[in-house]
């Protein structure tokens, strides 16, 4: 087990640093924020309504990927997010929990090929290392993939991480004891100025010099962002171990079909009631993770056979060997989506020491550690290493904070 090196416990002498910070929510964003603050020697009080990784983080597909991103702030963030995973893996923190692999976007029609070519040019233009695979090369690199595949773009240096494992790793490495079942009822206003001095929970007050809200969809009611945040359901599937087929797949497969539906960079408006984007990820265990849907209706915890069968038909069409593998589990969870498709990361407008970090929808695992790092920078009054202006909560104006 890694503990935080003493040399990292620095800089307490700087008077601007908070000595204790309250974090609301122990999904991957809250856990990473806790870790990076603790690494600076700051005391963390992590309050959690249920348990770590109980919501979106525990029901995520785990892609640490830029493959589907178009140039823009989300691509920049994803690139930095993947880089940080690699760093933390080589530092030892994530060793054994981050599987480096490529993503293969596969096109199965002329129309998909055309879109994929344009997309791959955009990726390459942003400095992403890619290869285009066709004909014999495609068959050799991915012998298990169906003959329907006409072309694939291999996006290198990506990976996969399981959300609840990353959270566990971050919390144990920082030695944090989580206040479980501590539903937050509101903020404790500070005696002077616009600040807060902590939160009131079901179990009593928890005080700190700053508060970070990373509570997913629950952040909406706490911060007055309810009309900006919506829960979006995703269904995912896990197979039994199938080591041979797994070994025959050099990385995750992503269906190129989704690229055909345009304008998905800011897809919050007019999104379909139920979307499907197929990803087949070969896991370390020899199992496959297959996903997933994106739905604005229905019970967020349940799986329906119509969606599951459709996902599986699409998966088998690309990877025929899956038909002989057994499905072990289906699961569903809800992710927090923001109206304009970009997350909320930054200071809450009008509040000096209240911060928010949520709304990552399907990118939480990829961006969670990076977000924790930059929020820790913000809380400590330092310039964050990522340009956070596109994600500034102030773009939605002032809000009514619950007290």
């Amino acid at each position: 087990m890694t503990t935080i090196p003493v040399c990292a416990m620095r800089a307490r002498s700087l008077s601007s640093l908070p000595s204790a910070v309250v974090i609301v929510g122990s999904g991957i964003v809250g856990a990473a924020t806790a870790y990076f603050l603790a690494r600076r020697g700051i005391e963390v009080r992590l309050v959690e309504a249920v348990a770590p990784a109980a919501e979106a983080t525990g029901a995520a597909d785990g892609a640490v990927s830029v493959a589907s991103k178009r140039p823009g702030p989300m691509m920049e963030a994803a690139l930095a997010g993947v880089r940080l995973y690699r760093e933390l893996e080589s530092e030892g923190l994530f060793s054994g929990f981050f599987k480096t692999r490529s993503t293969f976007i596969v096109a199965a029609s002329q129309a998909e090929c055309a879109v994929l070519e344009a997309h791959s040019a955009a990726l390459a233009g942003a400095g992403v290392r890619i290869d285009i695979l066709q004909h014999e090369e495609l068959r050799q690199r991915m012998p298990a993939v169906s003959g329907e595949a006409m072309m694939a773009v291999e996006v290198h240096d990506e990976g996969h991480a399981i959300g609840y494992q990353i959270v566990h790793r971050l919390l144990t490495a920082a030695g944090i004891v989580v206040h479980r079942g501590a539903v937050v009822e509101g903020f404790l206003p500070s005696s002077s100025g616009n600040g807060v001095r902590g939160v009131m929970t079901k179990h009593g007050p928890v005080e700190g010099d700053a508060v970070v809200v990373a509570a997913g969809t629950g952040s909406g009611a706490l911060l007055g962002f309810s009309d900006v945040l919506t829960p979006r359901k995703g269904q995912l599937l896990v197979t039994e171990r199938a080591p041979e087929l797994n070994a025959g797949l050099p990385g995750a497969i992503m269906s190129g079909r989704y690229l055909l539906s345009k304008g998905s960079q800011n897809s919050g408006h007019g999104a379909p009631a139920r979307g499907l984007g197929l990803v087949i990820d070969p896991l370390r265990t020899g199992q496959f993770l297959i996903g997933g849907t994106r739905e604005d209706h229905g019970d967020r915890t349940l799986n329906d056979v119509e969606a599951v069968a459709k996902i599986l038909r699409d998966a088998v069409a690309l990877l025929p060997g899956l038909a002989n593998v057994r499905l072990l589990r289906s699961f569903a969870g809800s992710r927090t989506a923001v109206a304009d498709g970009l997350p909320l990361i930054g200071r809450v407008p009008g509040r000096d020491n209240l911060f928010v970090a949520t709304g990552f929808e399907g990118d939480g695992i990829c961006l969670g550690p990076l977000t924790g790092k930059v929020v820790a920078d913000l809380v400590c009054g330092e310039a964050p290493s990522l340009d956070l202006r596109p994600f500034d909560p102030a773009r939605f104006g002032a809000c009514e904070v619950a007290a």
Binding site: N303, D304, A315, L327, L328
Partner: protein, 453 residues
């Protein structure tokens, strides 16, 4: 084919009794059974020409009348069919392993009568090939009409051990010993209580006499603490108040009681558009075959009431079940493990807990000893307990008990905290499941290809 009003899962005593009662009331009913035959584990019939195992007259009579009534009912049985669960829109999913397809049904009521499973507590070596369960041996004897070969030791806790020993003796190969954690002879109060159940007492006395007649050592107040491979067989370690000794055997059969086989099954009640779910028989409360039959009738009447087909109330089953419950409680007291033979004591860290994922008692201990108090679900995820192909059937209950013992101050987790209630309740072929919902162009259109931003 039209959906039945009631779907029963499991053709053991509870499922068959429910089917008979429902059919007699004119309710349309179908039965799904994972095996090719009916009767469940308790009334397992011999394969083809095998000689049947000698059975108690009462049990034989119960089966004769139940199977005759069921034949007469004309209820359709879907054989080789496994219940997968109820999906979000309320459809019941059945895996028809004969046709290789998944069937979606919309019954108004589902009666889950999936029986009981044997409990096997973890001990070093419990997972080795050649170590079976005593109930498994009994079912094998019923099917093949002969006893397992070689030196067999039966070990664990509860009346089934002595029943299996007697059946082995009658078939010509008595076990080399029966190792029992309790000692009925030292629980006189519970023994006296059994006088109120002469049938049970007669059956038990028959087993004990058979075991005595064949001079099978009945080692009461003793625990089989460890199993190691030795030569073609095993060396087992036995512990009692006097100390430790070893025995060499060819085969080990363990049994630490039975519990409902309800892993991952939907809870009792209705949900949205879905059917009313009822549990019946040992799947609801493990009280044995006669109680299961009575409980099948009870569940059938609850289904009939729900369908509005009949309102006749009859409390006879309720009284019968209460009596069986009392008898089982007495047996549990009679066989309560002695302090020197308690399960779960002093388990070495390397003892396997989860066979599928190779997780040990030490792995669990490490998670339970953290200053941060993990929930059952976090222990499941980070320890990979109950995440393997058996979906927690073999480890969820043991892991929950051990967690409670390792952290007596924390709220005790339930097996459901570890298994969840997600479908599929059993692993299912992707090739079969992908055909479950017919291709429907309208719906395919609705599900557009766009998730990733």
């Amino acid at each position: 084919m039209a959906d039945p009003d009631v779907l029963i899962v499991g053709a053991g005593p509870a499922g068959l009794a429910a089917a008979v009662e429902l059919a007699a009331s004119g309710v349309s009913v179908e039965l799904a059974e994972q095996r090719g035959t009916i009767g469940g584990a308790i009334y397992r019939q011999p394969i083809s020409a095998a000689t049947p195992v000698p059975q108690a007259a009462a049990a034989k009579a119960r089966w004769r009348s139940l199977s005759a009534a069921f034949d007469e009912s004309g209820v359709r049985v879907r054989h080789a069919t496994v219940f997968l669960g109820i999906e979000a829109d309320g459809q019941v999913l059945l895996d028809d392993r004969r046709s290789g397809g998944v069937v979606c049904l919309r019954p108004k009521v589902v009666i889950l009568a999936t029986g009981a499973v044997e409990t096997v507590h973890p001990r070093p070596g419990w997972h080795l090939a050649g170590v079976t369960t005593a109930g498994g041996l009994q079912v094998m004897m019923k099917e093949r009409g002969r006893a397992p070969e070689g030196r067999v030791i039966l070990a664990g806790n509860g009346p089934l051990l002595i029943a299996v020993a007697a059946q082995m003796a009658r078939l010509g190969n008595p076990p080399v010993a029966v190792v029992e954690a309790g000692d009925p002879f030292r629980r006189p109060a519970a023994g006296l209580g059994l006088l109120a159940f002469p049938g049970l007492l007669r059956e038990a006395a028959g087993y004990v006499l058979d075991v005595k007649r064949h001079r099978v050592p009945w080692l009461r107040g003793t625990r089989l603490a460890a199993i190691e491979p030795q030569g073609e067989g095993f060396a087992v370690t036995l512990e009692d108040a006097r100390g430790t000794r070893r025995m060499e055997v060819d085969r080990v059969a363990l049994h630490d009681g039975i519990r409902p086989n309800d892993f991952g099954l939907p809870q009792v009640g209705g949900r949205g558009e879905g059917p009313l779910v009822l549990h019946a028989g040992d799947c609801r409360e493990a009280l044995g075959a006669p109680a299961a039959g009575a409980d099948g009738h009870r569940a059938a009447r609850e289904a009939i009431r729900h369908l509005g087909a009949d309102r006749t109330a009859n409390s006879r089953e309720g009284r019968d079940i209460a009596r069986y419950r009392k008898a089982q409680a007495l047996l549990a007291r009679l066989f309560a493990p002695l302090p020197e033979a308690l399960p779960f004591e002093n388990l070495p860290d390397e003892t396997l807990l989860c066979r599928c994922e190779g997780r040990t008692v030490g792995d669990l201990r490490a998670l339970c000893e953290m200053p941060d108090r993990l929930t059952g679900r976090e222990v499941k995820h980070n320890g990979r307990f109950a995440m393997g192909a058996c979906q927690g059937r073999f480890c969820a209950a043991n892991t929950a008990v051990l967690m409670a013992r390792m952290r007596p101050e924390a709220p005790a987790p339930t097996p459901v905290d570890l298994t969840g209630r997600r479908w599929p309740a059993r692993p299912v072929s992707i090739g079969a499941l992908m055909q479950a919902a017919p291709e429907n162009t309208d719906q395919d259109k609705e599900m557009t290809d766009e998730v990733h931003k």
